[in-house]
Amino acid sequence: MPTIYANPTKFMQVSQPLWQALAVSSALFLIAGLYFAFNAPPDYQQGLTIRILFLHVPAAWCAMMVYGFMAAASVAAFIWRTPLADIAAQASAPIGLVWVMIALWSGSLWGKPIWGTFWVWDARLVSVLVLLFLYLGYVLLLKAIDAPARRNRAARLVAIIGALNLPIIKFSVDWWNTLHQPASIMRLEAPALAPVYLLPLGLMAAFALCLTGSLVLVRMRTMVLRRQLEVQALAGGA
């Protein structure tokens, strides 16, 4: 990792305009995404419930990407011992938790009219449920351990070991017989989704990515500020 990005002072300078730019971009993508999502024609099989796809799929992508990011940051923290890597992983967890909750909730509401049930114990749904528990475990672990060094080490281990679940989620629909459909976008062949749905999906995915990036930076800045204030308070008290 280039050390310049691991420097908290430099990070605070660079992240200020960046989080704002990402927040504005996410708002613009959201407006355009919702416009096209709610004006998309009904699917020939699923009718208007296809609109849930434009929320469900980006939420599931972000839930997985954020966990992958947390695992990568945790590896970086182990290797380079930079506090900013731990901060990046820990700041991201609540955001991934919200995305996985949205993915499960919207998927369940999509399942009822299309599958006839809110939930089935198939491999894709269960592996995403495991991701929810990993996020919950990670967030609770951060609250449970007071000693920073022990907390950081335990959190890194949970993030890295939990990342083994990501390929299971991705390939669960290929490895097992699932009610959940196989990949229709992230695959080697052309997307199976009708082209008319690709634009709203792309816009909503761009919204989700920009919002995630913006929130990760905001939460990282909050954690850096908190540490700087703690150091100031200690220096003032000494």
């Binding site: 009718g47 208007l48 419930t49 609109r51 849930i52 929320l55 469900h56 939420a59 609540p94 955001i95 919200v98 909750m101 949205i102 909730w105 919207s106 509401l109 999509w110 009822k112 009219p113 919002l211 929130l215 905001v218 939460r219 800045r221 909050t222 500020l225 908190r226 700087q228 204030l229």
Partner: protein
Amino acid sequence: MEYGVYIWLAYGFAAFALVGLTFSSIAAMKKLEGKK
């Protein structure tokens, strides 16, 4: 097919969760920026 309630429940929960997360995150940062 009238499945509007499922669509609105899905988007409604997402809006609630994302707005809550966004505003609480920005408010926490602004509060600390004010102290610094």
